[in-house]
């Protein structure tokens, strides 16, 4: 669990669609139920969402289409105006920022990558990447120098004069990544950046993203509807359903301790052995016999499974200090590895 300071913090954010929603929300004391909203014909895109993003973490917002994840991120960037709520960014409420202040914040502190790349078709790669610097009024020489640096960073050497239509989808999104990084933003929003790519390219781009993040260490808000992607990239995952944030936690927490049926349903097809740690399924009986086979509490099941299954004995679980804290049987491992759906419902 990251314990850094908050980069961005949303408190009770609402986004309703309908006629005069802010008045309606106030009349309901900022606490209408889903039923209230349906009766009054309001559509909740974001339903009372509160979430903190910590410095340096990758927060993945997950949900099916229409669950409000894009709306929430657009509230955080004020691309759409929330109906009510507070969003703190670097100590002040973003919702109170004037248009001018907002432009300044976006010019220097935020970067965003879009699902369909959103490249300017009339500009070549170099001009696309230099675009955010150009609107700041930075001289051509300076901004092109910086753009060329980032072109190298994202691996597009030699393509600087190409136009977007001449590039493949993966290359186009590299330009999208590069453009959003040109201003060295403090916080990086990625809105389903790899969803429009085919699976092989998607994997490649995820690796590229991990490589970039290892170099840059940004605070990241990443949207996806793909749970595998979320598991690969996330420090924490927030699951959204019908505008609500239903659970926030690490992938393991979501699987071992789903807050409701929806989350459970979402996570049921995930290969557990790779995600669950020994600690999450070990038995903590009072009488612990110390066996010769020892495994660490934080090891993943998949890494210890071969040892335990071939040894035919019960394994002792120890924590980082070497103290015994539980035991793990072969049967437990087999159950995880060959679990069928019914077992988890």
């Amino acid at each position: 669990m990251p314990k850094n300071s908050k980069a961005i913090s949303c408190k009770n954010v609402w986004k309703l669609y309908g006629s005069n929603p802010s008045k309606y929300l106030a009349s309901k004391n900022f606490n209408p139920t889903i039923k209230d909203l349906k009766e009054s014909q309001y559509i909740p895109a974001v339903f009372n969402a509160s979430i903190d993003v910590y410095e340096g973490e990758i927060l993945v917002i997950m949900g099916l289409s229409g669950s409000g994840k894009s709306s929430l991120v657009r509230c955080m960037t004020r691309l759409i105006e929330p109906t009510s709520g507070e969003i703190y960014f670097e100590g002040s409420d973003l919702l109170k920022a004037t248009d001018k202040e907002l432009i300044e914040i976006r010019r220097h502190k935020m970067g965003m990558v879009f699902q369909n790349f959103a490249l300017m078709p009339h500009r070549n790669v170099l001009d696309n990447i230099a675009f955010p610097l150009e609107v700041q009024g930075i001289s051509r020489e300076k901004r092109e120098k910086r753009a060329l640096e980032i072109i190298d960073l994202v691996g597009l050497q030699g393509r600087s004069k190409y136009y977007p239509r001449e590039l493949s989808g993966g290359q186009q999104q590299r330009v999208g990544l590069a453009r959003s990084l040109a201003v060295e933003p403090n916080i990086w929003f990625l809105d389903e950046p790899f969803s429009a790519l085919d699976p092989l390219i998607r994997k490649e781009m995820q690796n590229e993203f991990i490589r970039l993040q290892n170099l840059l260490n940004k605070t990241i808000v990443f949207i996806t509807h793909d749970f595998d992607e979320a598991i690969r990239l996330a420090d924490r995952i927030a699951i959204m359903y019908e505008g609500k944030i239903v659970q926030i936690g690490s992938a393991e927490e979501l699987i071992t301790n789903p807050s409701n049926d929806y989350v459970a349903e979402f996570t049921k097809d995930i290969p557990r052995a790779k995600l669950l740690s020994v600690g999450s399924i070990m038995k903590t009986t009072k009488k612990l016999k110390e066996s010769t086979l020892k495994v660490n509490k934080s090891d993943k099941i998949s890494s210890v499974a071969p040892k335990i299954i071939s040894s035919n004995s019960v394994a002792t679980v120890v924590d980082d200090n070497g103290d015994v804290c539980g035991e793990l049987t072969k049967d437990q491992i087999i159950e995880i590895l060959f679990s069928d759906k019914e077992n988890h419902e």
Binding site: T77, I103, H108, F114, F131, Q136
Partner: protein
């Protein structure tokens, strides 16, 4: 079985009140048959139930004579603005044919124009386009025994001013329309009226407020040409993907940066299409603007047509068509042109076209200093084939005189006259009830009230009888157009090659300025309803053919495959699958056909018909601005009524098919 028949009859309930009223016409009071105070025969300025013409003329008088701005009248204000047009116009005229007075520089030599047109063609697309452009310039130069070259340059000088003006005005209004809801709400009806108003009706107003001559021609052209630019600007800006806008905002663009760096460049292809449309509209005005003294090809074409010098008119007509096709293809190439990677290197390597253009300019200036033949092609090299053409036309008309005459009279007696009588016998109350019922069926109360109001205005204006003659001509022409266009489209849509062929023919025909269609009509059928309807049919068949092809070809291939797998024969696929699914598009095609027909029927008034267009031409010669405008509005009301009904019907069908939400 009886039930089914009953259901069918119920579906067409909206016709019955109309038929009933028509049948009981003898029992209707007089005011219910023909609107009171209507003009019946040749009418001067008439009152109508509501004296619209008087009102407009009073308003014009006030604007003309009273100093509403304190020191000067509205007319003085508009005339001084009009005079500003002279500044750019003087420049383009000097550049193209007059030469400059102040500096010792002649007009552009023809070799320079030829060279630049070819280079531009190469730059925009390639060899084929350059050949078209070169051929066009060569035609203008060679067929210039009677001065086609200078006439063309006069026309182009006016177009060179009108196009940028219309584009700028169009884009500015379009930006306003896209940014502000109120502006869009104001612009929409204005554009609707401007696009359906016959040119001649505002030509009179232009003449009153801006005078006559080249500058008035430019103003009339701009008024006619800017609406599509505005529409396409609004469309282009609104169709931009929301992500691109968001990307612009997230990169910290302010409002102006958004507009100039993101939105306008993003809407580029729409804007280029708009420019193409503006150019075509400007060319369509070439002849019409000559009615208020615009010099150039149009003026001479009109004069030759009036004197029935068809051979010479034909030569000029070909020049107009040639210019139209060339400008159309050039500007279409501009629409499709995509930015290209630059090559590194020295100036001429980076900008090969610009460099060769410079060489051509320098070279042709030197050449024109050496020989006058480079400035304008000498008379002894120019030709005119109008003599042969006249002979040919005479031969055709004399040899075909009898059969064509029989054909014409047959049509007149057995088809046109009865239809005309039918239209004239409809009581106006019945017609209002018919559109009202149709409106109710399609769009309930609101639509019914709107279209009934439109038709009532026509009746109230006093021009009901003339309007029904217009409606008769348009209806007859539409029936023929649809009867011709739909089968052609069905045939064409069967194969890719024929589709392309027919669409190309449609494109080319559509670039012809409308007056051109009168030439063959008059050649074949002299002056009669038949020649007018012939011209309308040729022109109005274009949209129905195009829309039907579009509709038929756009049926999803999966559905066709499903039909094939269900064992449909080719004709079953056509009649049971393609045609029903193409029906909404065909309706839109019929709507467009009506618009084209209304447009052409007004121009056909020039060769003598007795409908609204004749009255407009009278108003034009008497400088009766009020009458011209009111009759023009009657025509646009006919168009708007049909437009409302047909578009609504098409949308209902599309919704039924799940094509739109």
């Amino acid at each position: 079985m009886n039930n089914i028949i009953f259901e069918r009859f119920k579906n067409y309930w909206f016709i019955y009140p109309f038929i009933l009223l028509w049948i009981i016409k003898p029992f209707l009071p007089e005011w219910g048959v023909v609107p009171p105070k209507s003009c019946l025969g040749g009418c001067g300025t008439i009152e109508g139930m509501i004296p619209f013409v008087q009102w407009v003329n009073n308003l014009i008088d006030i604007l003309r004579n009273y100093e509403i701005f304190g020191f000067f009248t509205f007319r003085e204000f508009t005339r001084s603005i009009a005079n500003l047009i002279d500044i750019p116009l003087d420049f383009t005229e000097a550049l193209l044919y007059k030469g400059f007075n102040t500096i010792p520089l002649g007009p552009m030599p023809w070799v320079m124009i030829l060279g630049l047109v070819i280079i531009l063609g190469l730059y925009l697309r390639g060899v084929n386009l350059a050949i078209l452009g070169g051929a066009c310039v060569m035609y203008l130069a060679i067929f210039s025994l009677r001065g086609i070259w200078t006439l063309s340059m006069k026309t182009l000088a006016a177009i060179a001013v009108s196009v940028p003006l219309a584009v700028i005005i169009g884009i500015l209004l379009g930006i306003l329309g896209a940014k502000f809801k109120i502006a869009e709400r104001l612009l929409n009806p204005l554009l609707n009226i401007l696009q359906s108003l016959p040119h001649f009706s505002y030509l009179i107003l232009v003449a009153i407020f801006c005078g006559v001559g080249a500058k008035a021609g430019v103003i009339a052209t701009v008024i006619f040409a800017f609406p599509p630019m505005t529409r396409l600007t609004i469309l282009g800006l609104k169709e931009l993907s929301s992500e691109i806008i968001e990307a612009g905002r997230m990169n910290g663009c302010n409002k102006w940066q958004m507009l100039f760096k993101v939105e306008l460049p993003g809407a580029r292809s729409s804007l280029m299409l708009g420019i193409n449309q503006v150019i075509m509209q400007c060319l369509a005005m070439v002849v019409i603007a000559s009615f208020i003294g615009q010099p150039g090809l149009g003026h001479d074409l009109l004069a030759r047509l009036q004197n029935l010098r068809l051979g010479q008119a034909f030569e000029i007509g070909v020049a107009v068509v040639f210019i139209a096709i060339t400008l159309d293809r050039y500007s279409q190439a501009l629409v499709l042109k995509e930015p290209k990677r630059k090559i590194e290197g020295v100036f001429w390597k980076r900008n090969p076209y610009l460099f060769s253009a410079l060489i051509i300019v320098v070279f042709s200036i030197i050449l024109s200093l050496l020989t006058a033949a480079a400035i304008q092609l000498p008379k002894e090299y120019t030709i005119s084939i109008s003599g042969y053409l006249d002979w040919g036309i005479k031969f055709i008309t004399t040899s075909l005189f009898v059969p064509l005459g029989i054909f014409r009279d047959f049509l007149l007696v057995y088809f046109f006259m009865p239809t005309k009588a039918m239209f004239q016998s409809m009581p106006w109350v019945a017609v209002i009830v018919l559109v009202g019922c149709a409106g109710w069926k399609l769009g309930k109360f609101k639509l019914a009230m709107t279209v009934m109001f439109f038709i009532f205005l026509i009746a109230a204006s006093g021009y009901w009888v003339r309007a029904m003659i217009t409606l008769y001509m348009v209806s007859v022409a539409m029936i023929i157009s649809v009867g011709f266009g739909v089968p052609v489209a069905i045939w064409a849509s069967r194969k890719k090659s024929t589709t392309k062929l027919i669409l190309n023919i449609c494109d080319t025909f559509q670039t012809f300025p409308s007056f051109i269609y009168l030439l063959p009509a008059v050649m074949l059928f002299q002056i009669s309803d038949v020649s007018a309807i012939f011209a309308i049919v040729v022109y109005a068949s274009i949209p129905i053919t195009r829309y039907t092809i579009f509709g038929l070809r756009n049926v999803p291939s999966q559905i066709i495959e499903a039909a094939k797998m269900s064992g449909c024969s080719e004709s079953q696929i056509l009649w049971k699958v393609r045609m029903p699914l193409a029906f909404p598009e065909i309706l839109l095609g019929i709507n467009q056909t009506l618009m084209f027909a209304l447009f052409m029927v007004m121009i056909a008034g020039f060769i003598g018909t007795v409908d609204l267009s004749q009255e407009i031409f009278r108003a034009l010669s008497f400088n009766d601005g009020g009458k011209g405008l009111v009759i023009g509005l009657c025509v646009s009301l006919i168009g708007l009524t049909a437009d409302r009904l047909l578009v609504e019907w098409s949308n209902i069908k599309k919704k039924e098919f799940g094509l739109i939400k």
